[in-house]
């Protein structure tokens, strides 16, 4: 006799029976929540940088959301609401786990985001595919790595913005910060990413570094063309 199988079947039967008798609104709400699992997982994956921790995070956030059904206002954006719960769960419980390397409070907010890390127009152009809006393929893997290395607070803001296209207001609500902070985090994050891409592009031979000041990086392609 396969006791495990039988036991499991029994549990499944009980669950099914429970599901059948459960009131409809709960069921509908659950369906609405589960429809966003992929999106939540995609964000969780970028936030946690680890597949199995991402699963735990999505699981926890989903259960929290189901329990907080009464707090959801029908007609509002359920995905933004779910991502807010996910972000909160991440900020409050998951950052201590594993690979974190920054604090959420401040530290990285200082410095003039405008002045440092100037990159010339030609260099920026060289990092894209010619005549296209896409990043050069060799830089895409590097970008992904660079996103993983961002300080938590920058990564959260950028991922919510770029992956899920949440508004600054929604991100501010999710992170519990003013909109201005969200803007500066996103700005700072992109700045860091651009600098890392530039370094990688130089290492990969896409750009050449020149010793003098200012526009010190000239694309190789442009130099070849000039020859």
């Amino acid at each position: 006799m396969d006791t495990t199988g039988e036991r499991f079947q029994l549990a499944t039967m009980v669950l099914r029976e429970a599901a059948r008798r459960a009131p409809d609104p709960a069921r509908q709400f659950e369906d609405n929540v589960l429809a966003h699992l992929d999106g939540m997982y995609a964000v969780a994956r970028r936030l946690t940088r680890d597949a199995s921790i991402a699963e735990d995070l999505v699981h926890d956030a989903t259960i929290k959301a189901l329990r907080a059904r009464d707090q959801f206002e029908p007609g509002t954006n359920i995905k933004a609401w779910l991502l807010r719960i996910l972000t909160n769960t991440f900020i409050n419980g998951y950052r201590r786990v594993g690979l974190e390397r920054s604090t959420f409070e401040g530290a990285h907010e200082t410095g003039d985001p405008v002045a440092d890390g100037w990159i010339s127009a030609a260099s920026m152009r060289a990092m894209r595919e010619p005549e296209e809006e896409a990043l050069r393929p060799v830089l895409r893997a590097e970008l992904s790595r660079a996103v993983d290395e961002l300080p938590d607070e920058f990564r959260v803001a950028l991922v919510l913005c770029d992956v899920e296209e949440m508004s600054y207001k929604e991100i501010a609500e999710a992170m519990g910060t003013p909109i201005g902070t969200v803007m500066s985090r996103i700005h700072r994050a992109r700045k860091i990413l651009q600098q890392k891409l530039q370094q990688h592009a130089i290492a990969a031979g896409l750009l050449r570094e020149e010793p003098d000041e200012g526009s010190n990086v000239v694309p190789l392609a442009a130099r070849r063309a000039a020859r």
């Binding site: 009980v14 699963e55 970008l143």
Partner: protein, 279 residues
Amino acid sequence: MIPCRDTLRALDAYVDGELEPSHLLSVEQHLVECSSCLERVELARAMKRAIRNEARGERAPSSLRSRIAIAAAAERAIEAEELHPRRAPSWRSALPWAAAASVALAIGGGVRAIGDHHAGSSPKSELLASSASIPLIEDLAGPHAQPLPPEELDPARVTRVFSPIVGVPVRPVSLHHERHGAFSFTGARLFKVQQEPAASLSYNAGDRRVTVVVFDPQRMPKASCCLARRTINAGGEERTVFVGRAKGYSLAVYERDGVGYAVSSDLGENEVLAMAADL
């Protein structure tokens, strides 16, 4: 022409479609005149697109879907029970059955020690296999090495919700240590051991932590080769316990009445062993 400096801060908002209409015009005007800022915008857009495309390729694994579906069904069942305590099915109804299964196992093998091979049990259910065993003890020590926030704090709910999922009774019990005193239960969560659901129960006394993993040994295919076999006296009965270290923590694994337990702690092996005897 507006200087770049005044535009730079607005470029991210522009790329993200967050710029107010009043500001939009002056930024667009600047972009017509300034190729440098235009490049900045194009690069930011290219990066944004690359980040989105990569993340959007991610799909929630089916194991996660089923894990959440089970947990969601349990949530619904609890809610139904709380709303209609009489009509709705009770988790308790599933438990006596699990208990009965445990009794059957006990009759089959006496007090079956972990890893004892005995007639009637499939090789799959044998805990102490010889090979490929490290993932199991690493999994068992996982919740202690990487603690995550608890899903459930209420011991009664832990038993009610987790037992049907794990497949064996999950009961937070009192833990005691002669030197550190009573350990209090701080919460439980579900996780996976070798793709099968298991429960981890967390306890602490001061800054000392103990994690008890409860699992269904019948569902766990692999074994613990790297642990030493000990026989201890647990309340008058002999119990075989496997002791060792995993992920930097002491670990004691044993089976009782068809339920698998793994106790991990930053305490020493002998102390973990003593706790296993108490459980």
